[in-house]
Amino acid sequence: MTCDTQDTVRNPLLSFLRALSAVVWKDLSAEMRSRELLSAMLVFALLVILIFNFALDLDPKTRQESTITAGVLWVIFTFAGTLGLNRSMAVEKDRGCIDGLLLAPVDRSAIYFGKTIANLVFMLIVEIIVLPIYSLLYNVNLFQPGLLLVTLLGSVGYVAVGTLLATMAVQARTRDVLLPILLFPVVLPIVLGAVKASGGFLDGIEMAEIRPWLNLLVVYDIIFIAIAFMVFDFVVEE
């Protein structure tokens, strides 16, 4: 931390960014030491691939449709994402860290965006590892710029809503079962859009046909980041 306190007092944006990066950094360094969240998400993701392999017969010789690939990928991401979101907020709640965070003299939205960015990083790491494994196992090239863009846009929207809802879910009695029930119906447009856009890029469909889906993802991301930003205060208020 190089900038002095005088500077942060004068510049509210700078102090916001410092609080934000502190929250992100706290999550990342905690994860770097324990690795409990990422390892759980990754092993879970691989298990889902394994189950789908037998449940849907993913062998590319028998399965030509790229919608299957896109669908399986997004099921993996949404399920692994729920696991990560739940864990990331449960840790804060169980060890009383959330109270410490709330006591800090920073804007509440810095906490929200910090947690969201940290969760996004975890989700992207899982995706970056799952994509080559899937490519290798089923002999499809998933490293296309379009597909990566969809993955990023989809993950942003998913994590933006997910962080907000996970913050509520961990404060409820039935928390472990509650998050997917709260999250999945609300996040359906993201899953739909991401599956369709990913499938489109894998099929090499014209950009004009994929663009509506990309627009949907962007619109969803913007709307839900804005709403979560506005209501997050009420979710952590004591």
């Binding site: 809503v161 907000l164 809802l165 509520m168 879910a169 404060q171 409820a172 009695r173 039935t174 928390r175 509650l178 029930i181 709260l182 999945f184 119906p185 609300v186 996040v187 359906l188 447009p189 739909l192 859009g193 369709k196 046909e209 509506p212 889906w213 949907l216 619109v219 969803y220 709307i223 839900f224 709403i227 979560a228 209501v231 009420f234 979710v235 208020e237």
Partner: protein
Amino acid sequence: MQTKPRLLTVLDFVTAALFVLATGMVFFYAPLEAVMGQVQRVFYFHVAAGWVGMLSFLVAAIAGVVYLTSTNRKWDIVSLSAIEIGIVFAFINIVSGSIWARPIWNTWWTWDPRLTTATVMELIYAAYLMLRQGIEDPDRRARFGAVYAIVGFVSVPLTFFSARLFRTIHPIVIGTNEAGAEGDFDMTPMMLQTFMFSLLTFTFIFADLLWHRIRVGRLADKVEQLRLKTIE
């Protein structure tokens, strides 16, 4: 214990009279539809129930916003009451639609955008009730409920839009493709009058039920507060 307001009693009777009248209009005033026959008569209450469902969820979301800005417990009760009514009417909407769809589309169900959205809406508000059930602290329950009512309601149009996009780009062979077009019909003036009257009747039913449910909610609130007081 406050007594039942006179106006509410009046509203009860007016609603009951309207409902009897509307039922009569659906069966005896509205003409028989030429192609679909008797089953078309379900349409009047089907659309009216759907309208009440949407209206309730809108009321719940607005009440949620007002609760978050005012933190007046009254608005939390309004929000919860509207959602409970909405769930019931959205369900009536889905079931009556299925009854109509079986002879007309030759299937109970298709993944048409409207049907998809209706289902997702039911799931969202079922989740809302589960969320509330899991929280003991009344203030926190109200806050979380309001937040979820807003988030859920905002996602509904996006779900509808995405489901429509899903079908227009990739038409599906199973079931009817042009779901909106299949079973379409032009309304005669008498049909239109029956339809409008059904909408009006169901709006009255909504207002009446909401009022009753809010009164129950107030009493439940009072009981809960008394209980908390005795624990202290």
